[in-house]
Each structure stands twice: as structure tokens, then as C-alpha cells.
Amino acid sequence: MDIFNQTACQLIKMLQSKEITSRQLVESVIDRIGAVDSKINAFVYVDNTAALEKADEIDARRANGEPLGALAGIPVALKDNLLYCRRPVTCASNILKGYYSSYNATVVEKLIGADAVIIGVANMDEFAMGSSCETSCYGPSRNPWNQDCITGGSSGGSAAAVAADETILALGSDTGGSIRQPSALCGVVGMKPTYGRVSRYGLVAFASSLDQIGPITKSVADNALLLQVISGYDHRDSTSINEDVPDYSASLGESIKGLKIGIPKEYFLYGMDSDIETATKKAIETFQQLGAQPVEISLPYTEYAIATYYIIATAEASANLARFDGVRYGNRAKDADNLIDMYCKTKSQGFGAEVKRRILLGTYVLSSGYYDAYYKKAQKVRTLIRDDFSKAFQKVDCIVAPTSPTSAFKIGEKIDDPLTMYLSDIFTISLNLAGLPGISIPCGFSKDSLPIGLQIIGKPFDESTILRAAYAFEQNTVFHTQKPNLV
């Protein structure tokens, strides 16, 4: 048995019983990264020295009998869009290469407060714009199950690192599916919490009204554990909600007998991939066997979700990314003749194609004369999509659907076809528009032995229910026990 391929919950017990030390754990993970990351490219950087120092500190404190945080000694990977004071953060973009954070994101502060060991920073799509991790300036991360395939994105590095046992826990961010979709494609557990559950302070914004940070883990119990640490109201984020954070781990083992599970008919109509359809239907049967009660529901505005999303998300992004202008920080084009030229060259050289496409799209939809036709209409449809879910949740406790319409596709397969690429988020995007929590858990494998994810969607601030359903499913299936063969 290797140390690195255990879950956080198992490792915490082993650390507490002094079966292993934090140093052994961190060394094991560092060795694993050394052994496999050249194949996976999950990490932008790994801070061995700092991680080992932290591990030693935790070991010493444990030896002294000092009280320790919930994640004491457990390695956690950050996504490259979370600010960690005095460390580089680039959002996988050339425009920010060489930029160092001047403060800690709230979630980073919380990890530090929980005595976690921040092991390194994971790869992602540039500015979280992408569904395959291919828009990264560091090159794509590769799927641990098949290195010719994408990891999904944008939190592809985080999901791949967890799947390849290069970290124990990871944080991602999810604007349209960026946690859930790569988690599905890499065969791990990923949760997008309710909008407002986790502070966005220190998360480099892509689309402020949609972004949410969440945990990517090897098991549902680990997911509950990490969510517990990062959740809660933060006065620095006006959109974070002052709601009590329940004990997510406490209710995990409770029965799901009688739980009403909504099956949205619109999610099974799209000339669906047969592997995904089979796995999802089987999963529903499993839930039924566990005593849950499937109920067909309708989310009629689903077909407008992608269009709505790409208007709202790009509009917000066009403003959010305006600050990367070469004036105060980041890379500035050197050969500029004047101010406008400097802006143009800096952005032309600094941003990749997908980011430019979205900035242009967002600028267009906000332009005078087009605002009403695009942005305003999209906001109205967003309300209708939210209402769809509110109505559905009057009948059901949670909703079950596929996470992704396909399993991992080949690197390069869709990168030149943005519209096809955008369809990757068809099942995840509505939740961001509605602000709802959703978790993706492994629920099967494709004919090509690639993981398939099942998405469980919850009511606002009811992460407990979807965690409980996810845990019940996980404990009664074996998909999560399977590991990619990397060595």
C-alpha cells in the first residue's frame, strides 16, 4: 500500500494514530509527482521545500500534543487562479507570468488555518476559459486514464492531480462546469457549491456572478471535509451569504430512503452518447435500489442555457479581464508607440485565442445598441432557468443527470471548433446560471475505459443532501476504487 493513493479521511486517521508522519505523506506525494507528472502535466509548479517545512512543523506540533486543524498535514493543490501570498499566480496566461500574489485568497487563508500543506499549483485553461485544459499557456494537462485524452477543464490540472494521486485534495473553480466536468472525465469527485457558499475573495474572476470555488477529491467524504474548511460567510465578498454552514460529514451515512430524485427529461434528449446514457440510467437504478424515488421532471429552458451563459459570462469577463493591461503589473509589450498601442500589443501578446474570443464576444454583447438584444435578454432567460429549478425542487430533493455529454475526448479534437467545445458544459452550465450546488461522482466507464461522471444537483445551500446521496451511491458502487494505471 502506498501512502499517496489514500484518501484524506484515511490519511488523517493514519496521521492521528502516528502510523505515518506528515513528512512521509508529503514526501510520498512529492515522489509521486516526480514519477508521473511528466506524463500528466497537472502542476504549474510544486513547492517541495515549503511543503516539507510545513509537514515538519505539523509533525512537531503533533508530537507536542498541540491542537491541529482539520486538514493537518494533508497535501492540497491550488488551481492557478487562487492567490497565495508571495507566490506566483498566472491563470495559465502569459499576461500574468512573473506576477506574485500580494495577499491570500480567503480559501487559502482557511486552508492555512486548517493546517493543510499547500503542495503546489495546478494547471488550468487560461483564465478558466475552456473545457479541456488545452488553452493553458503551459500546454494541456493529460488525462491519467489515457494520456492522449483531455482532462476536461478548466480545472483540468486539479482533477488530473487528484486522479493521478499527485495530491490528496485539490481546489478548483467552476464557472460553467469547470470543477464537475474535469472531475467526471478524470474519475474523481468534484463539487461546485451554491453561489455565495464559498468566498470568491482572491479567486481571479472570470465571470463574477457565476464563479465558485469548490473541492476536488478522491472520495465523497473527502469532498465534505474540504468543503467544510472552505465554506462560510466572508465580509470581503459581498456576494457570500451569511448562512450557517452545517456539518457536512455528520450526515453522510444517513439513509437516502424516500429521497425524491428528479430526472430532467431535457437532459436525455440530445442524441446522447450511449455510454453516458447507459451509465446514467444504471446509476438511477442504483439509487432506486437504495430506496430513493426517481421522479421525472422538466427543465424547459435548458436548451437556452449555453447561449445565455456565453452572453453573461463573456460580458462579465470582458470587464474582469480589462485590468490586465500592462500598466501596473503583469507583462507589458515593450515595443509600443503610445498608450493605445501599448494596450493593444500587451493584450494581443498576453492573451491566448480563446480568451481573446470571449473578451470580444463580451464587449460586443454589451455594446450600445446590442445590450437589450443580448445581455438584457440573457438576464431574463437566466431568471427563467432559475425558475425552472425552483419549480422542480418543489417536487424533488435533488436532481440527477450526466455531468458531461461525453467522456474524455482526444487532445486537439475540438480545440479549433469552439461551438462543439462549448457543448461540453451543456449539463453543468445551468447550475451556474441558477447558482445551485452540484457534485460529480464516478458512475462508470466508457467502452474505451474512460471514466464517466454522474451529477447530483441540489437546492440552494443544500450541499448536505447531495453529499449524502453521493456518499450512498459511492458506498454501494466500486467505480471510485478503480485507479488509472500510470506506471
Binding site: L96, S208, S238, A319, Y329
Partner: protein
């Protein structure tokens, strides 16, 4: 053809909150560049704004003072444009749901009251300041000002002359001074004003094409720029030309406006709701809580001064224009009962000394107690009004009280007839012909004789006593 001007003013008032609008940085004026900054106001990646509740209260308070309706539901929006002094390359402002709307300011011009409509007043964040090196070493940005709360107050196009524009600004400054929410110092930039100016044939209902005038740095500058612009547009139209919609800059040295950009070059600000801030909902109770802080405003105070102290409307207006001055006056009225005399002394001597030194009334070395003690000495005949002016100047200069100065300089008025008897006799003796002139009916000669007595006593003789004694002596 006769034209009439149509003027609307956009005034930006820097609120004097201790911290910025969306972060906790200090807002002290004149600090070393970039010493009052943080990741939030520098627009670093990942930062989020948090609204300063005080700024909201100030905005609502100002709205109430300007007779505005207060929005129960407002929100912030992003105004997008690129400029190096704007760290995020968007300004957080308010577009379609300002905190305050539909109010008015009453101005007083040519003895008449006129209401100038206030379309809206909204909160937004200030930008930084570009600093250009003379040595050609490039430009820098000072971000200390970035994020300081601004209240933008937009008037209706109800202003019909440069003088009304000046009166509007004066009234606005006075009200805001009473609320104590801004220094309103145009030179320091805590109050900025842009003017929308157009002209139309007298009697025409439709507006003419407007020009927006920027870059005025004093109230007088606004007066001059608006006057210039009206003349310029009149000339254009009279010569058969057309006024074009554009933004023009006022050049205070050349006393002219210059075209800066045309309508075609205007920015498309691409406003949209700021997703990082939640909408602001104000309940009736919230608004009433803020209303409690509404002080007596200048117009009400002016009317009360006329009623309570029996001074003229003009005097009351001067005294109440500045809250601190009005406070000073009222402090005096509690110590001395000749209200008219207090008003005169404040408006003539005190204001002159203060204006000469560019001091606010709160920095006066003559406090209400010292002023009224001096006025009492005039009232009881210890010093003459004329001597009092010298005494006052000394008081202001040295900070000493009137008693001390009078004793030190021997300025006590001579009212004792015994002391004056000999001097008066001497003056009559040595001015025989003038005495005769007076007796012959030449009234002016009498004043000359009084003057001679005053001269002999170095101005210390009590004029009333001298008058009486001279008359008695000459008969």
C-alpha cells in the same frame, strides 16, 4: 435673433469619509503618492469591492437635503473605459438606479428665488491621478485618490445664465457644507464641475445642440467658461453655422474653450450591473434613520436669522452661506444682544481679515467671546467705533483680547468733559475763521472742528461728547 442659454451642471463631490468607497484605505489629501493603496483599489487580480456604508449614508443624506426621492432599490454598475488612472479599466458607478433622484436646489438671483431641478445623485469611485515627468522620464500614476467616494449630482437643464450657474454651485456647496460630507474645495479637486451648455432661439421649446465643458477649477471659472461658451455658440449660429455636439475643455489662462472630442469619438461605456456587489435595498426606516442627521439647512436658517435677530435678508444670506460662519454668529448672539452690530462686524472686519489670510472662520484668532467683549466696550463708551477697528485688527493679529490691547496702547476713549474742555477751547481759539464760517451757516465747518479735536486726542475723544461740547461752546 435673440438666443437664450440652457445650462445643466454635473457636479462631482468627493465625500469626506475616512476610508475609500470599496476598501479600507485612508483618504487623506496630499499624502505621498501611492501610500494610501491596497490590492483592492489597485485592481489586483482576485479582489472584490465592499461598499462603505458611511458613503451610502452621506449620499442619502445629501439626497434628502437636495429634496430628492431616495431609491428603495439601487445598484452599482460598471462603466467600462481604458485609462491608466483607472486600475480595473472600469469604474464602479451607478447607471439606471441611482440612490437619489428628482430633487431641487433653490437659488437666489436678482432678488428672486428659482428652483433648479436635480435629476439624480449617485455614488461612484474616483480615479487616480496621472503625474507627468518634466524630464521626459515618462508618466506615473498616483492611486491614492482611486476609490475615494464621489457623489455625482446632475442638475436638470434649468439654469439659464452663467450667474445662475454660479448661484447653483454656491447653494450646493453651502448645503453640502452644512451636511459636513465634503470639503467642496474646487482647487483641491474635492468638488468638480462639468457644464452642458446649449442655446436656442428665445421662445423655442426644443433644446439646441449642447457642448459639454470640462476642466474648470473654480466657481468663477465655471461662470467664465459658461459665458464664453454661450458667446461662442451665439456667434456660430449668427454666422449661419451649426453647433456640433462635442466635449470642450476650458483653458483658464486663455479664457477660452477648446474642442476635445466629438460625439463620434465619445466612449461607449458598456454599462452593466456590477456583479461583485449586491443591490442596495433601503427601507423607510433606514431612510428615516438617516434623516435624523439632517441639520437645519441654509435657507431655513437664513429665514430664522431674519426672524430671530432682525437682520436683513441679505445679511442673513451672507452669514448662513457657510455653516461655520453662521455658527460663529449665533455663538455671538448668545453673548451680546446687539445682533445688527455683530452682523456688521462679522461681515466687514472679521471676513476681511479671514479672506486676506484665506482662513476659515474656525481658524479665527478672535473667537465669539472676544468679539462680543469688544462690542460691549463700544456699547458702554469705553472705546469709539473707529478705535475699535484698530483694536480689532490688533486682536486678530495677536490673539489678545480687547481689554489688554486698549490698556497696552492707551486707547480708552476720553468722555470726561473736564479732560476735553481745554482741548476744545484751544481748537476754537486757533480756528477763528472756521468758527465764523460755521456761525455763518456753513455746516461742514463743524465737522472740521470735530476732526481737529479728534486729531488732538489721537482719535480717543468720544465723538458724541465732543459734538455736544463744541456746540455748547460755539453756541
Amino acid at each position: 435673433m435673440e438666443f437664450e442659454p440652457v445650462i445643466g451642471l454635473e457636479v462631482h463631490v468627493q465625500l469626506n469619509t475616512k476610508s475609500k468607497l470599496f476598501c479600507s484605505c485612508a483618504t487623506v489629501f496630499g499624502a505621498e503618492p501611492n501610500t494610501q493603496v491596497c490590492p483592492v483599489c489597485l485592481g489586483h487580480p482576485g479582489v472584490l469591492p465592499v461598499m462603505n456604508r458611511k458613503a451610502l449614508e452621506y449620499a442619502v443624506l445629501c439626497g434628502l437635503a437636495l429634496n430628492c426621492s431616495i431609491s428603495r432599490f439601487s445598484k452599482f454598475d460598471r462603466k467600462n473605459y481604458f485609462y491608466p488612472d483607472l486600475p480595473k479599466n472600469y469604474q464602479v458607478s451607478q447607471f439606471d438606479k441611482p440612490f437619489c433622484y428628482n430633487g431641487f436646489v433653490t437659488i437666489h438671483v436678482d432678488g428672486k428665488d428659482k428652483r433648479i431641478g436635480v435629476t439624480r445623485a449617485h455614488l461612484e469611485e474616483d480615479a487616480g491621478k496621472l503625474l507627468h515627468s518634466d524630464a521626459g522620464a515618462g508618466s506615473g500614476v498616483d492611486f491614492n485618490r482611486t476609490g475615494i467616494p464621489l457623489l455625482e449630482i446632475v442638475s436638470e437643464p434649468d439654469i439659464s445664465s452663467p450667474e445662475e450657474a454660479y448661484a447653483y454651485l454656491t447653494a450646493l456647496k453651502s448645503i453640502i457644507g452644512y451636511l459636513d460630507i465634503s470639503d467642496c474645495n474646487m482647487e483641491e479637486g474635492s468638488l468638480r464641475c462639468d457644464a452642458n451648455v446649449s442655446i436656442r432661439p428665445k421662445g423655442q421649446k426644443e433644446f439646441g445642440v449642447k457642448a459639454e465643458i470640462k476642466n474648470m477649477n473654480s466657481f468663477r471659472g465655471v461662470l467664465k467658461a459658461v459665458s464664453y461658451e454661450i458667446d461662442r455658440q451665439t456667434e456660430v449660429l449668427l454666422c449661419g453655422g451649426k453647433v456640433v455636439q462635442e466635449t470642450r475643455l476650458w483653458d483658464a489662462d486663455k479664457n477660452m474653450t477648446f474642442s476635445m472630442r466629438s460625439k463620434e469619438e465619445a466612449h461607449d461605456y458598456r454599462y452593466f450591473p456590477e456583479p461583485d456587489l449586491v443591490p442596495v435595498v433601503l427601507t423607510e426606516a433606514n431612510i428615516e434613520e438617516i434623516r435624523k442627521y439632517l441639520p437645519e439647512l441654509p435657507s431655513a436658517r437664513m429665514k430664522r436669522f431674519v426672524m430671530d435677530y432682525g437682520i436683513t435678508e441679505y445679511d442673513a444670506e451672507v452669514l448662513t452661506g457657510d455653516k461655520k460662519l453662521a455658527d460663529y454668529y449665533e455663538d455671538c448672539t448668545r453673548l451680546f444682544n446687539d445682533y445688527k452690530s455683530i452682523s456688521n462686524w462679522i461681515q466687514s472686519e472679521l471676513l476681511r481679515e479671514l479672506n486676506d489670510r484665506k482662513l476659515p472662520v474656525t481658524a479665527s484668532s478672535v473667537c465669539p467671546k472676544k468679539l462680543t467683549d469688544m462690542l460691549r466696550l463700544i456699547q458702554n463708551g469705553t472705546i469709539s467705533g473707529k478705535i475699535a477697528k484698530t483694536v480689532f485688527a490688533q486682536m486678530f493679529e495677536t490673539g489678545k483680547d480687547a481689554d489688554t490691547i486698549i490698556k497696552e496702547k492707551g486707547l480708552v476713549q476720553i468722555s470726561d468733559p473736564d479732560e476735553l474742555k481745554k482741548i476744545i477751547a484751544d481748537v476754537i481759539d486757533s480756528n477763528g475763521s472756521i468758527v465764523d464760517d460755521y456761525k455763518g451757516g456753513k455746516e461742514k465747518s463743524f465737522m472740521f472742528l470735530v476732526g481737529q479735536v479728534m486729531k488732538a486726542t489721537k482719535g480717543k475723544a468720544n465723538p458724541q461728547v465732543v459734538n455736544q461740547m463744541l456746540k455748547d461752546a460755539i453756541g
